[in-house]
Symmetry: C4
Subunit: 413 residues, 4 copies
Amino acid sequence: MKLLSSTLSYPSLLFLLSRMVVGYNNGLARTPQMGWNTWNRFGCDIDEELIVESAKVVAEKLRIYGYECYSVGWHDVSRDPNTGAPRCDPERFPNGIKATSEKVHALGLKVGIYSSAGRYTCGGRFGSLGYEEIDAKTYAEWGIDYLKYDNCYNEGQSGTPLISFDRYAKMSRALNATGRPILYSICNWGEDQPWNFATTIANSWRMSGDISDRFNDFDERCPCTDMLDCKLSGYHCAMARIIDFAAPLGQKAGPGQWNDLDMRKNGGMTFDEYVTHFSMWALLKSPLMMGHDLLNMSNETWTIITNTEIIAINQDPNGQPGTRLWKRPLPEGGDLQLWRGELVNSSFAVALVNTSPEEQVVDVSFEDVFRDLSKEWREATYTVYDLWEKDEKEEWGKNLGSMSGGMRGITVI
Amino acid sequence: MKLLSSTLSYPSLLFLLSRMVVGYNNGLARTPQMGWNTWNRFGCDIDEELIVESAKVVAEKLRIYGYECYSVGWHDVSRDPNTGAPRCDPERFPNGIKATSEKVHALGLKVGIYSSAGRYTCGGRFGSLGYEEIDAKTYAEWGIDYLKYDNCYNEGQSGTPLISFDRYAKMSRALNATGRPILYSICNWGEDQPWNFATTIANSWRMSGDISDRFNDFDERCPCTDMLDCKLSGYHCAMARIIDFAAPLGQKAGPGQWNDLDMRKNGGMTFDEYVTHFSMWALLKSPLMMGHDLLNMSNETWTIITNTEIIAINQDPNGQPGTRLWKRPLPEGGDLQLWRGELVNSSFAVALVNTSPEEQVVDVSFEDVFRDLSKEWREATYTVYDLWEKDEKEEWGKNLGSMSGGMRGITVI
Amino acid sequence: MKLLSSTLSYPSLLFLLSRMVVGYNNGLARTPQMGWNTWNRFGCDIDEELIVESAKVVAEKLRIYGYECYSVGWHDVSRDPNTGAPRCDPERFPNGIKATSEKVHALGLKVGIYSSAGRYTCGGRFGSLGYEEIDAKTYAEWGIDYLKYDNCYNEGQSGTPLISFDRYAKMSRALNATGRPILYSICNWGEDQPWNFATTIANSWRMSGDISDRFNDFDERCPCTDMLDCKLSGYHCAMARIIDFAAPLGQKAGPGQWNDLDMRKNGGMTFDEYVTHFSMWALLKSPLMMGHDLLNMSNETWTIITNTEIIAINQDPNGQPGTRLWKRPLPEGGDLQLWRGELVNSSFAVALVNTSPEEQVVDVSFEDVFRDLSKEWREATYTVYDLWEKDEKEEWGKNLGSMSGGMRGITVI
Amino acid sequence: MKLLSSTLSYPSLLFLLSRMVVGYNNGLARTPQMGWNTWNRFGCDIDEELIVESAKVVAEKLRIYGYECYSVGWHDVSRDPNTGAPRCDPERFPNGIKATSEKVHALGLKVGIYSSAGRYTCGGRFGSLGYEEIDAKTYAEWGIDYLKYDNCYNEGQSGTPLISFDRYAKMSRALNATGRPILYSICNWGEDQPWNFATTIANSWRMSGDISDRFNDFDERCPCTDMLDCKLSGYHCAMARIIDFAAPLGQKAGPGQWNDLDMRKNGGMTFDEYVTHFSMWALLKSPLMMGHDLLNMSNETWTIITNTEIIAINQDPNGQPGTRLWKRPLPEGGDLQLWRGELVNSSFAVALVNTSPEEQVVDVSFEDVFRDLSKEWREATYTVYDLWEKDEKEEWGKNLGSMSGGMRGITVI
């Protein structure tokens, strides 16, 4: 992925490109949240020690890169029989969730929790449907800063945007009523078009089924070909399929309201594939939630998740997700894709994505990148900076020919 | 586009062709509204001076062609904390909207305003959802004649025709209750089939996502292939795609109730492409709302938007949108399309549209144009008049062979 | 179309084939209704004289063939300002509708009327939405026997089966409350799957957009490719497209509850095409409502609509619509289709439909016709009788080879 | 179908594969129910004698294989005019249903009954819609253990998951209120995604239209290509089409909540085809309800339905339906499919399904079977046991090459 910078002025670009975005404004997630979630690696098998030890890793090594949200994970087995309030597992959290979250806060991090807008959570614990107020109140008392709110066992409360909105808005209002700013991350797997209905009630929404740790397989458990009206979001969705699903949705996101492409996976793909994964999540302004074991992190993982330039794309104040300019099928399977994102300071991020099993050497024309922009942009000359190679290569403009590149996954142009 | 006139009598044609249309009848828009809208060119950056200066251009130069609606643009930042009524920006409209609209009325024009059936407008200002009565009352007091009513931030109130109907009917009833005739132009981007649900509550409805200033690109931000049940109308919809979207919908429009194909764009297409744009908007009986800067208008633009014959097609009292008779893909991309519209006085408008990148020289058979009409029409002889070349060319009938034509965009037959 | 008769016993056939059908049971339409409707030919331009003169034709010439329903047509301009009851046009019906219907009753026929479950009828007159009780009561007082109930201007009351059911059930209950048996024929163009929701409230339901007088054209005004979830039923649907639409729906019909394929057209197709039209409407157990001018009927029309064997297929007491066994595209466009219907007395109606522009000479295998039936039927020998040629040709069975046939439209096998 | 066993430990497999499942928990159907249903063979023509005689066959011969649910069949003609309670036919059940069920209980079996969440049952008898409480109470009094609850004549109460949930939840609550554990088997043919909405209210849900006794025909009466949003589930769905429909749905099932693929058919397919039928129903964790005449059972049928290893796959405590890893179309029609199911004790069931008319001899690569699992599983060596041939053949692992097989229907790999 490359950064193109021009000397043109910023306002006229924004005027052409942006659809102004307001919406849910609890002051949070003006740029996509960054953090770590215990689920992918540990499931329900967490306790205070794991939480605190991992938080130390985040605080010591990752906070300087922007990661600050932190998952306490999946709440626990029972409700108080008198009050109905959620209770944690005293064996796993002997000092209570509040004590754990104080320790995490002391490290300068934020604390997340998980529940579901259903009768049970997806992990089979009790859900919050019908308990929104007591649960929100308890979270606030526990010092929670972040709620991931899932969709399992929703008892038929989906099928129109209004039904889904009502269900998720209940928790939104309950969180706001606590007075504590709590980032609200909903996870209804893209059902009923959350990019429409959730913009005024949530900071982010998952827009597809769960990601798998695969690059580009079709998996029948993730059966839809797009997410615009998918009736079975499923899971085991390969990374490149989620990119496809997200491609038309960027127009609905912006500061305080993000498409969530699911957590970063770790272990089943190649380095180049993870480069694509991280780069595209950044360009699409997805929350960047890590899913791997922080206590056992490879150098490759480290290199990827601490690329400051890529993180800067994700955290760019402009807050406009990238647009896919074209997608071209390849005879050997997969496709080539050209993406462009508009950044502050008259800059663009441009990505060429290759989802085929073969290396592709292609030219990208200047005209393709700027075709739908105004004359000033189509005729400017740009400085090109490679965000992974980290070197400045050349100038590029209408009369400077095309650029070539080729590798599996994302590539410079 | 050509006008075919015959000497056959008018009633029997109508009997065969028309589906009688009643519906919303506030006395307005018996033919599609014509006017100017500030948004495409100026966004939120408008003030009294711009409004009045532009209105003068409309009044002096364009009113004689039929343009009379006029946009005051996007209403403003705050509501009165006591009454809840909308308030304008005192810096931009120091004399109030009412004073501005009086100046526009004095020029013989009508005044439009914008809001959204949501919590916010698409421009991020407050919306009218829940404030329908106070807003309609205020508009009437301000002397507003026209409301464009958008769809952003609707809090999940879409997904079935009934939910959308209820939301938009609220404002319709509020406008009617003011006693002032206010043209009601809804803009829910074709969601939930407004051509069905809006016929008794609105004068026009947008039937797709926002138009872009491109002829025929596929843009992933406008992802649907038709509008019959599109779940993400989007924006950046190329002009030819909107023609495709509108093709089956003409049957639902008629006097007082129109499919709105979005505003006329300006700047990104060629002269021939704009000829197609304007001609097809006319033939499909779309409102003709100009979107360009009236104070800086090219000769080409002037030539197009003041073609009186094309405007006459749009304003024909019959009020029947044209029908696409066939659409044939071309090997070089794009397609050829044959259209026919029924006019008063036993006349027809016929258009051949070429959306390919190449000039096409084709014959159009007489039989194709009249195939689904009754014997009288299939056997008549017609006088052919070219609405852009403006000359009468020849007679055409069953035994007079086929006619040929070819150019990018719309062409004579 | 041929009738195949075997000597096998009847009950075991029915046990295998039938899905028992109960449902709306007002004692009417135990076989599909047969009659005449003024709309296709005369629109709103009807009066007492036309009605009575046409009724005489039906009574004298057609009643013996089973035609007995009869349309008074489209009700009239105004409601009584005091009672809200519908009033007829005193110029067209100077003696009132009741007097007209008495004259029609005196001829031994039944009388139909038309309204819409909307604010207006499709003809632009007042609709019955919100007036179900007073309208039903008035119809009963007028001696009406049959209500065709349309869908225009329904104010968004569609989009789920439940919304549509509620709207149409209101009139059903109102009709039943009058105590007069009134055949209830709903016409919501197949929206929201009336073959599911209407079985307990109506005698028949239209299952698609309006038919055109064309054999097999695609017309963009009838844009859907099937009716299972069509969001724009439209009109100008060619006859062969309606056959396609109806093919999967026969399973939902039966005595008292029929798929209505729309009225018989007249004038735009060839004799062979009309033979197909009438035969397939009969086999699919559609109501047989004539739409042509009874006072000016050609010999060809007469031959078709009085074919007693075809009518017997339609009125067969078994009441099971035919099934399409296969549909095979042809290189010249169109397709071949094989249909089978189960009749009383161990008989079958079998039809081979050709929708291509060319004559097709094909063999039909015995096995194809009986493939999904039990062994007894697959191994029986049948007497074959041609319902248009009206001669008995031969025996046919598993060991008697295949049969051939070929003509445009329907053909023997 | 083969069983692959490894020596790897069980927990880490489950952690990777399982989506924990909770949901409807009335203590029943922790593994899929097994039993017999009278409908396919006898329809409404049942009486006490047939029920009891057939039950004896089940008790004597089949109970040891796990079959224990047993159908009393379709309830009867009338409701008590005073109480509204259902009454049985005194001629068919002269001693009452309760006496019949006591006889069946005495044989050690469970007793099922049938009704519909509609105004009528599909067999034309009265339905339970609006009578949920009195019907559930009566069933409990009769000693009923199992309710199959159908969808006919539902009066428009479908179209969103919430509408369907509400209708089916009424009976669920009524059954629970009786205090008697009654297995609740809903049958709404997959409408509105019961795999989402029914998980907390029912033990199983039919997920498609009715099965036919055909291997792989397309039948227009079963018109949908998938079940994710099918608007006409229909009937006459060939067995292989139901496998297609079920393929993405396994993720939603688990202990206490199963996808019901419909009853086992008998008579229209070959032995190999029935082997596929039974094997795949087992692998997909469908309830195994026999539909044939127990008093006249062929040796082939006996061989199939008493294969203890296949039944063990179905009843495996892990309760995870198999996943389709790939499906490849074949030039002669039909396709090859590779399936894998995870079992307890580090074992897998693997199936290669051939739906073409030809024998296929193919190699299956080790990598294909384990591709999406973790490294331990991808590198293990497995003992392979053939569940139909019942012999242990060989070891298979990453370095042991591919395995071949071929026959119509399911085959070993």
